[in-house]
Every structure is written in C-alpha cells, then in structure tokens.
C-alpha cells in the first residue's frame, strides 16, 4: 500500500487488506525499494493535490520505478481511483481519466458488473456478478481512442462496467480495466469501502482483496 503526499484512502485500503486476511504493509512514496511485498495497491486520494493532472506527478515518485518493474514481471498491482489514474499516467494501463461529464464531484453507492473474473484481483468473483460499491471522484470519466476500446473489449480487458446509469460519462460504461496479463487492474470505484457493512454499503468489495491473496498463496 503506497502512500503519496495527498493519498486519502490509504488507511481504508490497509484495513481492507487486513480484513481479507493478508498482512498489509504501508509503503512511502519516497522509498525506492518494495522490500518483500507481493502485491501493491495504489490508493485513492489526491496525490500531489491533483496538480498538473491527476496522478501525473505521483508516477514519478521513487517507489513507482520498482512498482512498474514488478508489474511488468507479473506482480499484482491494483490502482483504485487516483491509483487508477497513476497507472494510466505510468502507461501500465491504456487510456486516461478526465473530469466527470457533470463537472461535479460525485459520491454514491454504485452498481457495477464484473466483466472479467479472470484477473489476479477478480478471481473470487464470477463473470457477470453484480456488486454495489462506493464511487467517489471528480475525474473518473474513462476515455481512450476507439481502437484501444475495441481492443480492450475484444481481449476481455474491461474488468468492470457501471450499471444503472453511467455516473461520470466513461466511454462504454467502463469502471475498470486490466493489462494484457491481468495482473495490473485499474478501478474507479472503491472496493475497500465495501468490505465492512458497518461503514459501507456491504461487503461486495472484499473479493478484490481475497482474490489476490488466494492467487499469491496458490502460487507460493
């Protein structure tokens, strides 16, 4: 779990990892080395105040070098919200996230459908499974050129799609995508806020974290 200056949902993601049964390790953006972590979550927030462009500065953090290398070698990486923006800026995922079509920040419990239960982060779901998890962003509108979008669709790399109304204008209702290998996933809604029914809409988000744990334990 990497904390950048301006990361906000870092503690929540640490808690979610713990609730899923794994050992969360806080990482500081200024540290180059990942020590022995086996998967990385880039949390939501406003890293570097979203100055310049969301995620544009965070991608140059020292920690990102090792994360990019690790991701290319198959280490599972999940970017949530601002983390998704960082992954796009770091070119681990294609496309970009721009301002919501409404021009307003939006916070709501969002219905989504899992489109690909084959990634490192979604294996505990089933294809087509419907979830409700909180969405909260000002710049969550996913865009890419038509060819990229067709390619993502064709290769099953759209991981999740919005249901019951597109909240931010994302092309093809895209809520999350993955890289070709399926180890790097970017997601706009916040599964870490749907892991404890007391403080969120339910537990629909927990399998994101248990999936990766199972993948790692299975592989070990």
């Amino acid at each position: 779990m990497v904390t950048f200056p301006g990361s906000l949902d870092d503690r929540d993601a640490l808690r979610a990892v713990r609730l899923a049964g794994a050992e969360p390790v806080p990482l500081w953006h200024g540290e180059k080395w990942l020590s022995d972590v086996q998967a990385v979550v880039l949390p939501g927030g406003f890293s570097y105040g979203d100055y310049l462009r969301c995620g544009a500065i965070a991608r140059f953090s020292p920690a990102m070098d090792s994360i990019v290398d690790g991701a290319r070698q198959g280490m599972p990486v999940l970017g949530i919200c601002n983390g998704f923006q960082v992954l796009c800026e770091a070119h681990l995922l294609p496309g970009a996230l721009i301002r919501n079509r409404s021009q307003k920040f939006i916070c709501r419990d969002q219905a989504v459908r899992i489109e690909n239960a084959g990634t490192a982060w979604t294996a505990d779901y089933e294809d087509g499974q419907q979830l409700v998890i909180p969405l909260k962003n000002a710049e969550g509108c996913y865009v890419a050129d038509e060819r990229t979008l067709d390619e993502l669709e064709g290769s099953g790399r759209v991981v999740a799609r919005y249901l019951d109304g597109n909240p931010n204008g994302s092309l093809r209702d895209i809520a999350g995508i993955c890289n070709a290998e399926g180890n790097v996933v970017g997601l706009m809604p916040h599964p870490e806020h749907a892991t404890d029914p007391l403080v969120g809409p339910g537990t629909d988000g927990l399998p994101f974290f248990s999936s990766v744990l199972r993948a790692l334990v299975g592989a070990a």
Partner: protein, 763 residues
Amino acid sequence: MSRPAVDTVEVAATSPSQSQPFKELGLNAEEYQRIKDILDRRPTSSELAMYSVMWSEHCSYKSSKVHLRQFGDKVPAEAKDILLVGMGENAGVVDVGHGLAVTFKIESHNHPSYVEPYQGAATGVGGIVRDILTMGARPVAVQDALRFGPANAPDTARVLPGVVAGIGGYGNCLGLPNVGGEISFDPSYLGNPLVNALCVGVLPADGIKLAKADGPGSHVVLFGARTGGDGIGGASVLASASFEAKGEKKRPAVQVGDPFAEKVLIECCLEIFAADLVTGIQDLGAAGLSCATTELAAAGTGGMDVDLDLAPLRDETLTPEEILMSESQERMMAVVTPENLEKFLEVCAKWEVTATVIGTVTDTGRLVMRWHGETIVDVPPRTLAHEGPVYERPVRRPYDQDALNGEHGNGLPRPKSGEQLRATALKLISSANLADKSWVTDQYDRYVLGNTVLAQPEDSGMIRLTDRALDGSGEADLGVAVSVDGNGRYTRLDPYAGAQLALAEAYRNVATTGARPLAVTNCLNFGSPEDPAVMWQFAEAVRGLADGCQQLGVPVTGGNVSFYNQTGSTPILPTPVIGVLGVIDDVSRRTPMALRGDGAQLYLLGDTRDEFGGSEWANVVHGFLGGRPPKVDLTREKLLADVLINASRDGLIDAAHDLSDGGLFVAVAEGCLRGEVGVRLVVPEGLDPFVFLFSESAGRAIVAVPRTEEVRFTDMCTARGLPATRIGVLDILESAIEVQGQFRLPLSELRTAWAATLPDLFG
C-alpha cells in the same frame, strides 16, 4: 523600487502627532486612545495593524463577551467528569473513555462566502480543521450548516453551487468525510448567506496540545505555506463590518485555499505530535501572524522576539503590516525547545513542508518584532489577546416583537379533506427546505477514512473511533455522533426559546441514533451588535442556550460569534446554530433512520399539540411568520433521549427519526423513502389529521418497533412516563404512505416530488 519608510518604534516615539488611519482599520477614537495609553506613545503602523485585527469583533468578542460568560457561569455539574479543555482554547476537548478524547467546534465563514463562494467556503473548512488539528487531534469528520436566500433567487444560483463546490473541493481533497449538516433557505439570507463549518477530531486523552509559548529560549517556528497577500484585513474588514454595496472592492480580501498543502500539513503535524516535539502550537487563522504570536506569548511565559524578515513570503514586496495581517491559509506556528528542533525540522522536511525559525520565547513580557534590523513592534501581548475592549452594548426588545407574537396565524386556512391534506404533503416535501438534499451531499465524500457509520441524511453523523477488527481488543467499537441544527424563524419569534429549540433538536438527533449527548458547540449568527434590537436577540439567545445546556447537562465547549450579518440595515433572522456531540459505546447498536422490518409497528413518542408558529407549513403554504414557536420542554427532551438510547442499546427498535421541520409526515416520508417501505398510518384518537401530520411540536420522534419487542418497548415507555402512541405498521408490499381515511400517496410519486426540487433549481 522605492518603498515607503518603515514606521519604527523609534519613529513613533518622536512623532506623537502623526495622523493614523485607525478608523479605516475599524477602530474607534476611544480604542485608538487606549492603545496610546497602553504603549505610552502612538502605535507604529505595524502595531496599529495588529491591534486593529486583534480588537476586531471577530477576534476580540468585544460585544459578545459579557453575554458569553454565562456558558461558564451556568456550566452543568456533568461537565467536570468529561471536560478536559473548556472554552477559550482553539476548541474544547471532552473525554470519551478508552483513553481517547474528542474535540469539536463550529465556526462561521459567512461574509467571505458571499463575496467569493468557492474560496470562502473552502477556507472556512480549512480554518476549522486547523483549529481541531491545533489541539493535537486528527480531524476525522466535518459537517456544515448552510443558509441561503430564496432557492429560486438568481444570486442563490451563484452562491450555493460555489459554496457546495468549495466545501467539497477542500474537504474531499483533505480526505475528511462530510457526515451531515443542514441546508435551508430564507429571504433574509439573500445578501448574507451563512456558511458554518464544524469539524471533529480525535486524540489520546493525554495528548492535548495548547496554544502557549512556554520556556524562554525555545524557538518559534512558522511552518506550512508561505505568507502571501491574500486575506489581508479579512478579520477586521470582512468579518466585522456589514456590506453596504461594497462587495466588489473587498474581493482580494478573501483568502485562497490549497487543500493539498493542508493535507500534508495535517500529516506532518500529527507525526510531530506523536513524537512530542512541540510545547505549544497555534494555527494561523483570522489575523494571521498577529494572532498567533500574541496568543502564544500571552498564554505562555509572556514574551517573544520575532524577526519578521525571516518569514517566508510568496510576494517579496509585502510590507510588515501586510505580513502581520495576512490570512494566507495552511500555516501553523509551533514552540519548539532547542533539543527538539532538529527532529522537528526533519519531520517537516519529510513532508516537504517549509519550516522556518522566526523567533524566540522570552520572559520579558513584551512581544518584540524586528524588520530590516529595526524594531517595529514592542507591545505587551496580553493587551492584544486578552485585554481588548469589552462593550456592554445597549439592548432593546424589538418594537415589532409583540406584534409578531400577537399575529398567531390561527386563522390561516388549513387543509381539511383527504385530498387537501395530500396536496399539502406533496407541497411540503417538494419545498426547497424539506426536499432531498443529495444534489448537495453527493458532492461530498462521506466514505473516506473508512469509519463513517452514519452520514447525511441520517439524524446525526456517526464516526467509529476504535476498530476491534484491527486492534484485536475484542471490545465493542466506540463511536461519536454529531448533529448541527438551527431555526432562524423560531428564534425570530422568541430568541430564548429558539436557541433552546435548536439545542434540543441537535440533542435529540444525537440521541435518536443511539448516542449519549455529551457537549455543545455553537455558532451564533446575528446582525449588527450596534443595533439594540439585534443585541436583545443575541442576549436572549445566549441566555436561552446557557440555561438549556445547564438543564440538559451538556456543557458548551466553544464556538464562534458572527455579527454584522445583514444587508443594509436589515439583519438576517437571528440564527444560533448548535452542534451537539455524543458518544456511543458500541457503534453496531446505532439506530438508523430508514424505516424497515415488515410488520414492524410505528410509534410516535412525545406529545403532539396544535403548534404552527414558525412552522414550515406556515412558511411554505402561506409565506407567514408570526405567533410563538413550539413549546420547549427540556425535561421531556431528556426523557425522550434516555428512552431512545436505551432502546438502541437493548435492541428494542429497528429505526428512529426525529420530528422537526414539517412535522410527522415529513419524518415518516423520509424514513419510508430511505427504507423503501410503505406504511399504513392511523390518526390517533382525538387528534386532528392536519395537526397530527404537520404540527412541529418539539420533543418527539418516531420509532419502528419489531413485533417481538413491542411489549418490552411499550412497558419501558410506560414505566418512564413517556407517551408512546402506535400510529401505524410498516408494509413492504405496500409501497405507499396511506393515512387511513384520508389519502394514499405512492412512494414513487413522493420520491419524484422530493428528489426533483434541487436538481431542477441548480442543474
């Protein structure tokens, strides 16, 4: 570039008759003379700037002090058990057990939010968050109480979206969940909206930080953002004088916020606190450096030497007077012992926060500031911070008060038939004050930090403080609940009762969610204190609030007074906004407002009387304000709260919702829409259907009781002497509110009417 010669202490001593712009800075002739008496010479221009901001109404409470003393004089006996820090510090602190303490406070940013809605509201959030941080606490939640002119007024379309975007833009980026508040509309706020922001923080009970500069030889460190030219004179000019069509000229006086800088500052401070690296700390809010240096020095050893040349600037052309008055945001001042300085600066460097030693604590009893090698300030700090002018302003009951109370409105035509009652219900639920507020609240992050148990539109916001899933303690999770409430119309009709009704509503809201009310903060928004009629409203409201807090056993821990809320000579409705904080031992026992449970019985707790003075019905349907507000019965409020808290703890109820604006129908509708359940209501024997549905009698709540607990619940109410009347049954198959023998209103029709209002108005 040539600069005007600097006015030094030496120059001031030799030019006693030089004229000075004290009037323009908001000081009167007597105040100016007093400064000369204190210093035994004329003040330098820097000193004059400092006195003008520190003696402004906003910083000195000169008109309100004599009244606010009552909060101390009438402090309830319960206070000594829980109060760790009372009024006078940046925020009060209460003990909540488990080694934890909670601090909370509400503050206004009304005038800046009118001039520059986005930045005014944003920096309002930033300021109150720094107050909480300064106590040594991690800020954990915010709320805001907002009031605007008529919802359909063109200027409201300018102010409201800007204020909401500013609160969201700053709070979201800071990572603080926004868990509640209120929004209402009235023509009196058209040229003077109210933006009151509340923040809650949590800290170890033994980790309280205070604003004092102790220990001669300690360093005075300024850290955070650089000082710029924004917000100069904000405190004295904007917060303390009314607008007279001068709005444009004051534009640059509104501060500009940078939430990212504040977020980093928060994390930096918390790391500094955890390592115990400061002896005193103060945030730079109203009156900036002037306030921080004088308050720290006045509360500590008594003296401080400051080299103003060392203050990092955004704009090198600023004069010392401007540096002293600047209200640039995201700045803090700490007192650090020499042995801790290196570690302190290391933490700042880690967070890339600029930190500069600008002075030293002394025991001279003087605050001395130098600029370019010359002394420009040499003052006794207490005379600025604590010994400002105090006024006993004239007080006079408004000439129209009797007429207002006499116009009881009993003759206003009331709906009689079921058809008319149904139309009234729809009209009320779709009125701007009662309609769905999610257009606003969906722009705020309520989830961040992962501890939000309840958020708007629930009766109170609730935050989990301990998490057994993480700490492995096996103990129930402790939480706090907060609610803010106010009602300008009630207060206009009777300020004493109006303040108590606001207090009672916030108190009731906290209890409705299952938390035990502990402490009170207040934001007192009034017109000009120089108007004796306004001063009467203020005096009565404070007296009512102090008496009410004493009776309910909840101490006032701090707050804020905002005067000069008026346009021309017309003041706003007197609007005390009251925040109540409560504690709940086990957050999993909280009571939500969503009506649920098929077949659950709906009970009305409390007495319903024919009370429509100041009501939403009179306001929305007839545009009428007159008569008397609902009767206040604080003994009943206490009893009701006890029953709600016990019922929550013992699991006797599935849901509860307080009755306030719009009366029972509105509360039932909100509960049904939230729970997506229908209800069949029966008008109790002997009660007129109109009074049953729309009266605003205080001290009431509705609760949903599962059939299995009905006997235990009603026995408890009977034993304690709380009237509990069965008024209906929940039915998940019947998606409508049916008032037997009167009308039926499908939830879909209700939801459409309720949800469309704000989006239709604001896009």
